[in-house]
């Protein structure tokens, strides 16, 4: 915060986005898998319905305005909320206005951007290559690493990019659940927002440009490497 008003928030944002995306990939991948391929084996009608409901639920956080979603999340995570009380019982710390709370909120809000592309990728891959890998002795884990992941590379890439970018840009939820605490929950999106609100347009432009340039660089690198790799 000393040499430049955006440094603290930028680092915090990068951390939040990275952790959120990693968390989302960890949570979203099995969910997407189940949505795409899990039900085929178990053909009962009932499973089909459950799947449709889950699919709809995943997209649902999107339709609420971020601030409003944040409000409800805050109610859940607050001292009187179920989640909040459970968390306090567990860790002794409150969940609301903590970095962990921020990560959870971001994850809920960005979940569909990760689950949907992955689910599509898994679905369009089908079982053929997995069967081939199994028949060659690759167990689930090896098949996953050596066949599914490279095969669904585009899906993972899209999931990561959308999840990352959306977490960078999101601030409604983050503001509500995080409370704009410097170095703890003040991410760069809130910082830019504050600058705009307080009419510090010059600093706002500067920070926006840095954010854009930085993101553009990352995206170029990611997409460039992807092209490289897919050409190999």
């Amino acid at each position: 915060m000393d040499w430049f008003p955006g440094a603290g928030p930028l680092l915090l944002t990068a951390k939040l986005a990275a952790i959120t995306v990693i968390g989302l990939l960890i949570v979203g991948t099995p969910l997407a898998w189940w949505l795409a391929l899990g039900v085929q084996q178990n053909k009962s009608r009932w499973h089909g319905y459950v799947r449709v409901v889950v699919e709809a639920l995943v997209a649902l956080p999107l339709v609420l305005p971020p601030t409003v979603l944040g409000f409800y999340l805050l109610m859940a995570m607050g001292a009187n909320g179920t989640l909040g009380q459970w968390w306090i019982g567990l860790t002794g710390e409150p969940l609301a206005f903590s970095f962990t709370g921020l990560v959870i909120a971001s994850m809920i809000y960005s979940l569909p951007f990760v689950v949907q592309p992955l689910s599509n990728a898994f679905q369009s891959m089908g079982r053929d290559w997995m069967e081939a890998a199994w028949s060659l002795g690759a167990n689930r884990w090896q098949t996953w690493l050596r066949v599914v992941v490279p095969h669904c590379r585009a899906g993972f890439l899209t999931a990561t990019v959308l999840g990352f970018a959306h977490t960078l840009g999101e601030f409604g939820v983050v503001l509500m659940v995080g409370g704009n605490i410097p170095d703890e929950t003040r991410v760069v999106s809130i910082a830019v927002y504050d600058l705009v609100e307080s009419m510090s347009y010059g600093a706002a432009h500067k920070l926006s440009l840095i954010l854009l340039g930085f993101s553009f660089l990352i995206l170029i690198l990611v997409y460039g490497f992807n092209r490289r790799w897919s050409r190999l």
Binding site: G78, P94, G179, N180, I181, E197, S198
Partner: protein
């Protein structure tokens, strides 16, 4: 380069077109009440657009179709006048905000409530962002005056005073500085300390007539209505101090 004036295709008050009032979010519940009684008296239609004063300011400069601007501060109306977007003569304070320190979970009188600030019992206190919101700015002055410039508790910043209240309401924070108007609207549980005006500079909320409505009689009537003693009484009852000191 008066954008608002030249680009407006609906200049003046034509029959059937509603009067458009831009209201800072914190005043919007009170504004709704005022508008309702204004409409009843004039048979005119008034529409309210609320957002933060900062947003409204930026929008007005970009030609937003607002006739009257009720800001949460004095800075933005003054700027609008200076930059030629608003009618200078109309720029008047319509209310002064009042701060309340509120601890909903604890019962007690004002002084016990105030003592809680020093007790160390509170780990977090919510307030509006001082860089953005006038109430936040006043809160910071208050904290300084109270010798709490570096308090033991963590300050949780709301984007504006509405969000600050939401923090407390949602159970995220146990205490915070909110607007008296909000406290009036809430169920007033727990204890509260009405921060006196001696702790901070007045939170003057100014209203201006915007250029596009400079010839709009209805808009002028609305401003008159806003500053009328009957309305001012209503504003006071909602938790504000009166306008022109």
């Amino acid at each position: 380069k008066n954008g608002a004036g030249t680009s407006s295709h609906k200049q003046g008050n034509h029959e059937g077109l509603p009067l458009r009032v831009a209201v800072a979010s914190n005043f919007s519940p009170t504004a709704h009440k005022i508008v309702t009684s204004f409409e009843a008296g004039t048979n005119a239609k008034v529409s309210i657009s609320s957002a933060s004063s900062g947003k409204l300011y930026a929008q007005i400069k970009q030609g937003a179709p607002f006739d009257v601007f009720l800001s949460a501060d004095a800075i933005r109306p003054d700027l609008l006048v200076k930059e030629g977007y608003a009618v200078a003569a109309s720029n008047r304070v319509y209310a002064h905000g009042r701060l309340v320190f509120w601890v909903p979970g604890v019962s007690g009188n004002e002084s016990t409530c105030r003592q809680l600030l020093y007790s160390g019992q509170l780990t977090r206190v919510a307030m509006a962002n001082p860089d953005v919101a006038p109430y936040g700015y006043a809160t910071r002055q208050t904290l300084t005056a109270l010798g709490l410039k570096n308090p033991v508790f963590t300050l949780i910043f709301g984007e504006n005073i509405g969000q600050t209240f939401a923090f407390i309401h949602a159970g995220g924070v146990a205490a915070g500085f909110i607007a008296a108007s909000q406290w009036q609207l809430s169920n007033r549980s727990g204890c509260a300390w009405e921060v006196g005006t001696q702790y901070h500079a007045p939170i003057a909320q100014r209203a201006v007539l915007l250029n596009r409505a400079s010839n709009n009689a209805l808009a002028r009537r609305f401003l008159d209505f806003l500053h009328s003693s009957k309305t001012q009484a209503k504003i006071k009852a909602s938790g504000y101090l009166l306008g022109d000191q």
